[in-house]
């Protein structure tokens, strides 16, 4: 019967109040753990995803939305910009590198990015397996895409229209995987890259080196029959899975407004009006368009010149990742701070609960303590026993809290779209031990008064008056 066994016996004796204290501590630590890891991951992502990108140029609209959609791939783009305007800007001597990107499709939630090979330079990406695309409909996938979707070189997949996984499936344009990227711990791990032409071709956009009319010959007449306002969304499919096979004939192309599956007429799905459909913009036949241009400055002096040049003399907007990321983090920070306050309150209540629990237990255990003193337990021994009880309760709560926090992060990550799933929920950080230490500190503080009371136990006063 050593001291720790005795402590364990004591805290399990008061199971109800101990459990309450443990749970309160656990909830407080869990919330702080979620806030801490989410905040840290966001910060890391904000910095790693914008490391080499000084400016994003896109369609006028919300600059934050432009950054979110073009760099973090968590929002819908503001619209499209003309490729020739983007090319013209790229030639500016203040710009070292300018990479156009075109969004519009996804595969099981992983966004398809039409871009150029220099995109890899922006993120310092390396091909782990296979090679870069050399033709349209060849795709290079991020490491997480390969892992999560169990894809390998040579596999073929069909993208779905739009940025949601349940969009219309482009069965007629299968992509073949030709390369898999090394893990970069950036958002690119969850992306699929291809050339710009592939994105245009999927949506039947006429472009300089790939005329969509060619497709009509082989039975794929896509956009030309669409109304620009409707785009692909007017198609409705009973089966929205990415590999759904159309019953369209080549002559009909996508002109069907409804499909008849198993003899049942499937009604048209109402369009989600607020979602900006990139394909729709492209279909307005304004020539080759891209979603955004990612820019790396040639010198710091460009910072004061290029954004002004874009915003004042073009119909595009320039958004600074640094400014918008800071703004985003400030916005997120308010929410995180509020949650943190809640967690601190819960932790304080946990401390109060430990205090009440130990204090009440002490009243019942005064004879036990006096007898222990009579058997040779020093005053310090009784003090430390009660203190350790407080520590064990909150430490236990702390560890359970960390487990709960990581479980919550895992669930959050599972719920997030594939492109935004970057929280490493199952990875423990040594700094999380600080949370355990904080919990222990609360336990110790809460136990100090009961411990002092135990320290002052007088054998004669307790056992002499019975």
């Amino acid at each position: 019967m050593n001291s720790l066994q005795l402590v364990w016996k004591n805290i399990t004796q008061q199971l109800g109040s101990t459990l309450l204290s443990v749970l309160l501590t656990a909830f407080g630590v869990a919330i702080l753990c979620v806030i801490y890891i989410t905040g840290e991951t966001f910060e890391k992502q904000l910095s790693s995803n914008t490391k080499n990108i000084d400016l994003v140029v896109g369609e006028k609209g919300s600059p934050l939305q432009l950054i979110l959609s073009s760099l973090y791939h968590v929002d819908n783009p503001t619209g499209n910009i003309r490729l020739d305007a983007a090319r013209e800007l790229s030639g500016n001597p203040f710009i070292e590198l300018a990479v156009p990107i075109s969004l519009g499709d996804n595969f099981n939630g992983h966004r398809l990015i039409g871009t150029e090979p220099s995109y890899l330079d922006l993120y310092n990406l390396r091909i782990k397996e296979g090679s870069l695309w050399s033709d349209s409909f060849e795709a290079v996938i991020g490491s997480d895409v390969a892992r999560k979707q169990k894809l390998k070189i040579g596999d073929v997949f069909h993208t779905a229209h739009g940025l949601a996984a349940d969009g219309h499936v482009h069965d007629e344009h299968p992509f073949r995987i030709v390369g898999i990227l090394e893990r970069s711990n950036t958002v690119v791990d969850n992306l699929i890259l291809c050339n710009l032409e592939s994105v245009w071709d999927v949506h039947g956009i006429a472009h300089g080196d790939h005329d969509h009319d060619d497709h009509a010959d082989d039975g794929h007449e896509h956009s030309h029959e669409h109304d620009a306002a409707d785009g692909h969304d007017h198609h409705d499919h009973d089966d929205a899975a990415a590999h759904h096979q159309h019953s369209d004939t080549g002559a009909d192309g996508h002109q069907h407004h409804e499909h008849e599956d198993d003899g049942e007429i499937v009604a048209e799905r109402p369009r989600e009006a607020f979602v900006k459909n990139i394909g729709d913009d492209m279909l307005e036949a304004r020539g080759d368009e891209v979603t955004a241009l990612l820019v790396k400055y040639a010198s710091p002096a460009a910072m004061g010149i290029v954004p002004r040049l874009v915003n004042q003399s073009t119909d595009m907007q320039a958004a600074s990742p640094a400014i918008e990321s800071t703004r985003l983090f400030a916005l997120l920070g308010v929410g995180l701070d509020s949650l943190a306050v809640l967690a601190y309150v819960i932790m304080a209540i946990a401390g109060l609960s430990v205090f009440i629990s130990l204090y009440n237990a002490l009243k019942q255990r005064k004879y036990d303590l006096a007898v222990m003193r009579s058997m040779g337990a020093s005053k310090t021994k009784l003090f430390s026993l009660v203190l350790v009880e407080g520590l064990v309760i909150t430490c236990l709560g702390g560890f359970i809290g960390l487990l709960l926090g990581h479980a919550a992060l895992f669930i959050i990550n599972e719920q997030a779209s594939e492109s935004a799933a970057f929280i490493e929920a199952l990875r423990f950080n040594s700094r999380e031990l600080l949370l355990i230490l904080a919990a222990c500190l609360i336990g110790a503080i809460a136990a100090v008064i009961p411990a002092i009371k135990a320290y002052r136990t007088s054998i004669s006063a307790v056992l002499g008056d019975r």
Partner: protein, 212 residues
């Protein structure tokens, strides 16, 4: 002549409310069991607490195993008491969340003696409590609890075993049984017994007694 285990001289104690009690000088020889006899309110329990070092006297001195008890302070006194003195309270005061065996092992642990389960079982067998080793205090009768308290007091083989009213509220038969048990167990563990009681029935069984 055996060594003096316990001696007290000119002990007096003033209660917080002002009452002052003076006690006779006491000498207890090793192996010669001793009785403190006195009616209720005469200060028997107070004297036992002074002799154990639980409280400090207003005047006087107590020597246990030739060590002046009040010359020791804090944890030194606690450690000395744990090694040399066993105390049987009027109530058993067993720790309710520990089993019978654990209650006794705790006494070994607090005296910084090695926890010896075999020794614990041995003392429990002597007190006919072997089968109760894993029982919790609330599963025991009052008599069984008292025997566990005796086992706990002797497990560290103290030089002096103090018992406060061990036969209170017992009938003649049980009084005789408890006394025999105390004499036997004190003998087996090499302890000298000092009993404080108001029970005049047991006076004849002691050659060395003090009246309060």
């Amino acid at each position: 002549m055996a060594d003096i285990v316990l001696s007290s001289t000119q002990l007096s104690y003033q209660y917080p409310q002002g009452t002052n009690l003076s006690f006779p000088d006491i000498r207890v020889q090793g192996g010669l069991h001793c009785l403190l006899l006195g009616d209720s309110g005469k200060g028997k329990t107070t004297l036992l607490h002074l002799l154990s070092g639980f409280s400090a006297p207003t005047t006087g001195e107590v020597r246990l195993m030739d060590q002046s008890l009040y010359a020791l302070r804090g944890s030194s006194l606690d450690a000395f008491r744990a090694k040399n003195l066993g105390f049987i309270f009027q109530e058993a005061h067993l720790l309710r969340n520990l089993t019978v065996a654990e209650n006794i092992m705790l006494a070994q642990n607090l005296a910084k003696n090695p926890v010896d389960e075999a020794e614990v079982m041995h003392v429990l067998e002597q007190l006919q409590l072997g089968e109760k080793a894993n029982s919790l205090p609330h599963q025991l009768s009052r008599g069984q609890k008292q025997r566990v308290a005796i086992a706990r007091a002797v497990i560290n083989r103290p030089a002096l075993l103090l018992a406060d009213e061990p036969t209170a509220s017992l009938d003649d038969n049980n009084t005789a049984l408890v006394l025999k048990l105390l004499f036997d167990i004190a003998g087996n563990y090499g302890s000298t017994l000092l009993i404080a009681t108001h029970d005049k029935r047991i006076k004849d069984q002691f050659t060395n007694s003090y009246q309060l």
